[in-house]
Each structure stands twice: as C-alpha cells, then as structure tokens.
C-alpha cells in the first residue's frame, strides 16, 4: 500500500524504486474498468437490451495488454534514439506507475458515457466533468515529463524532442485504441 501512496504522491521516487507490482495492479485495473466495469454500468443504468459480450471482453483485455507493450516499445525506441540507456524491461516495469490518471479517466469516461444525458447542457455537472478531465490530462502529462527525466534520464532539448515524438505516437495509439473498442486508451 505504501508503494501505491508513493507512486501517487511522490512519483519521482517511485520511478527510482521501480516496484513492478504497482504497475501491474494499475494496468490490470485500467483494463478491467474498460472491459468489465463499463458493461456492468450499462446494465445497472437500465439498458437491459445491452448484451454482455464475453468474447469482446477477452479481446479488449488482450488488446489492452498489447497496447501497454506497444507504448513501452515506443518509449524505449524513441528514448534510445535520443540517447537514453534505459532497458526495455525498465519501461515495462515503471510506465504502469503513471496509470493513476488513466485509471481515473477510464472510470470518468465510463460514467459520462452511460450517464451522458446528465452532463449534457448542465453547467454544474459540466464543470465537474471539465475539472476532472482537464486535471487527468494535465496529471498524466506531468507524470510523462517526470518519467522522461527520471527513467529515460533525458534532459533539456533531448527531453523535449522525445516528448514531442512520443506524443505523436501516443495520439496515434489513442486513436487506434478507440477504433478497436478500448474507450480509454491503455497508454
């Protein structure tokens, strides 16, 4: 539990300690929210015609894990190109620690998708959603920068270069994820 709090509040140190279980649990939860929580919420919200598709859940789970491996490979290759000496296994072990905002995003997206009508045209719920969503995006971006500095050990211009190149891949991967059915990209 202490490691989770550390990853939440002091990501810089958590990246140095590189506890793989924090990553594994956070990734698993993010994938589960995508595959199981969202359909359950649909049924709970009263959409009884909504069919739970076990095969699709399995497909999304495999895709989620694959997506994680792909983003780690992208991070590894691009950072290597910019002169980082970190190994592929370092990325696999630590990138999952940046998944707190991703997990929260998965929950928020599932809720807004199912209860869309509550948020639409509502100033109050709109602002709540806004704050959550903007915060999540900023949070992940901050973690991304800390990650490039602490794990890939890139500084200055190299860090900015890697940031931009990987950001392009992240946008492409997010699009691909959404296209394949993962509403919240596992990246």
């Amino acid at each position: 539990m202490g490691m989770f709090i550390k990853a939440l509040n002091r990501p810089k140190e958590a990246f140095t300690l590189a506890n793989k279980w924090v990553s594994i649990v956070l990734i698993a939860l993010t994938v589960l929210v995508n595959t199981i929580f969202e359909p359950l919420l649909q049924v709970y919200a009263g959409k009884f015609d909504y069919e739970i598709d076990g095969l699709n859940m399995l497909k999304l789970t495999v895709l989620g894990v694959a997506s994680y491996l792909v983003i780690c490979a992208v991070l590894w290759l691009v950072c290597k190109g910019f002169g980082s000496k970190a190994k592929f296994s370092d990325y696999i072990r630590t990138w999952g620690m940046t998944f707190f905002p991703t997990l929260l995003c998965a929950i928020v997206v599932a809720v807004t998708e199912v209860y869309f009508y509550v948020f639409w045209n509502s100033i109050f719920w709109g602002v709540v959603f806004n704050v959550m969503f903007g915060g999540i995006l900023l949070w992940k971006t901050i973690l991304y920068v800390i990650y490039l500095r602490e794990v890939a050990l890139l500084r200055g211009g190299k860090m900015i270069g890697a940031f931009i190149v990987i950001a392009v891949f992240i946008i492409a991967l997010a699009w691909a994820n959404g296209h394949l059915g993962l509403i919240t990209p596992v990246i």
């Binding site: 810089k12 140190e13 998708e113 869309f116 045209n121 100033i123 719920w125 903007g134 915060g135 901050i142």
Partner: protein
Amino acid sequence: MKKIDPFEGIFDNMQNNSIPTDEQKQKMRAFVLAEGVSQGESFMQKLGGWITVCPWRFAFCASAVQAAVFTLIFGAQYTNLLLSVFGG
C-alpha cells in the same frame, strides 16, 4: 572447557541479516539523493519541485481554473464540446 552459547550464533545471524545488501544500499542512496533538498533553489526549481510532489494537486488546481474561466465565457457549450470529443 569453553561454554557454547546457543544464542550467540543466532544474534550473529540477526546482525548480519540486518546489514543492508549492496542493492539495498544503492536504493537508499538513490532515495537520499531524490529526497535531498538543495539549498538556494530558484523560483522555477521550487515550482518544479512543488509540481513533482503530488502532481494531481497542481493538475486539478490548474484544471479548476480553466474550467471556471471557459465555462464563464462559453457556458454549457464548452462542456458539450469536451463531452462530444472525450465523453464517448
């Protein structure tokens, strides 16, 4: 005849076990370096440090400001735009 103290071996073992291994020492060193507060930081460094510790704190504060400002300007339209892009 020398009396053998059965506890001596146990205490020796305990002492040896409590000495950190090289790997643990490396980790401690990295931790101390990360924790170490340097003297005379500039404002930007202090701000960077503040953002790095509890990044969600800065993220949600900044997001609250943008949400308030843009909602005041554009009203529910701004929310609807975000919803249509991100909300599924």
